[in-house]
Amino acid sequence: MRELTIPVSAETIRELHIGEPVLLTGVMITGRDTAHKWIEETFIKKTKAPGPGDEAIYAELKRILAGSFIYHCGPVVAGLDTKQYRFVAAGPTTSIREEPFEADVMRHFGMRGVIGKGGMGDRTLQGCKETPAVYLHAIGGAASLIAQTVKRVTGVHKLEFGVPEAMWVIEVEKFPAVVTMDSHGRSQHDAILDRSKRVLAELFSKP
């Protein structure tokens, strides 16, 4: 199985095709709805002024996300009292909610992709082509297993968004995922959607 070490190069991303399983190692950040909206409004479209401390977080995001990934995940975290954070359960969340933001975010930070579940739409697929980047599908619900690949939690940003929505900086080792959208404009999700539509039409033709 192909192992990817973060930061991943553009050349390596171009070598990946849909259906290929990979193991990821390196530093990435979790982010879901609130984080994406905040990044887009504050630093990409700049429709909102940064709050106190936001610029420092932005600098940190730029440093980490270049060549790296955002993981769509709202983890269960132990050690909230002592700040000795540890991921207890950390499977992927549904990615399509980030469709309005993701292509912009990937391009803005020079990311190599996102990890989530359920796949994403045409805008993100186009973003994968241009950036270049890939969409990696993790196994939904495999939370204890994936948490074991999170070796260290090195920090957290915007904890005021709540534990699930905060941006957790994590160091992962051999995080398992499958490429389901590649940088060549292909999405495994589209193929399965089309086929299931055809079968449904056949089923509807029966009484």
């Binding site: 269960v76 549904t94 796949g119 204890s144 297993l145 699930p164 399965i192």
Partner: protein
Amino acid sequence: MQPDITDKVLELIKRTSTDIPPDVEASLRKAMGDEDKGSAAQGALETILSNIELSRKNGTPICQDTGTPIFRVRHPGGWSTRKMREQIRTAIAQATKLSYMRPNAVDSITEKNSGNNLGGEEFPTIHFEEEEGDSLVVDLMLKGGGCENVGAQYSLPDESIGAGRDLAGVRRAVLDAVQKAQGLGCAPGILGVSIGGDRGSGYVASKAALYTPIGTRNAAPEVAAMEERITKEANSMGIGPMGFGGRTTVIDTKIVGMHRLPASYFVTISYMCWAYRRRRLILEGDRVEYK
């Protein structure tokens, strides 16, 4: 004398979040055998089964989305539901502190997460029913947001899918919902379907249908046959585990009928993800049992 059930409910929450009922695990294992060797679908099911074993061994949540806790409490006459509600809420907050549950209750107006899984009267959801006898039976289901989001309600007739007000129309509505869900509900899923009711009671009944074990069939033969037909036809769409493509998209379909207004005919589908977390606590005097 009504006992304090806080500790028993805490244990129920732990078992529900960190383990999966044997019937569900057996179905997933069978599904793994049915998929092609080395396929993404089989790989996904292998990962799912390893995750179940690991969660059980380590006492960690099967899924990080510990979901909406939905309790059904059947209690002897004379018990105070106010006290039981307080005890259940205390147990939920403790379970959150112990990382069996993720803080999951977000105020929709202020966007603030309460931090302890408590939020208003409806979070957690608790249904109380007084029953004959001396035993207390508490069913708990944890239903995550991914699968909750792909649930659907159809008002029949629905011309867009050619569905009229009969079982044939129900079939169309359910198959349409499964096709639209793709892998987003963390397939393979289990379908709870209610026919009738109003929009609110329809959803409650479609979820309550999910308290029964896999393979529980409706008592009416024509409905039971339709449950099996829908499962089979849904699987022919090839969506597969996680939407990776494959043979198992739906593990089981459960249909319940309700009374309705003459003017309304709702078909309500609650989609449960493979992480079908349901457990039962039975309390009879000093005897405590978890099933």
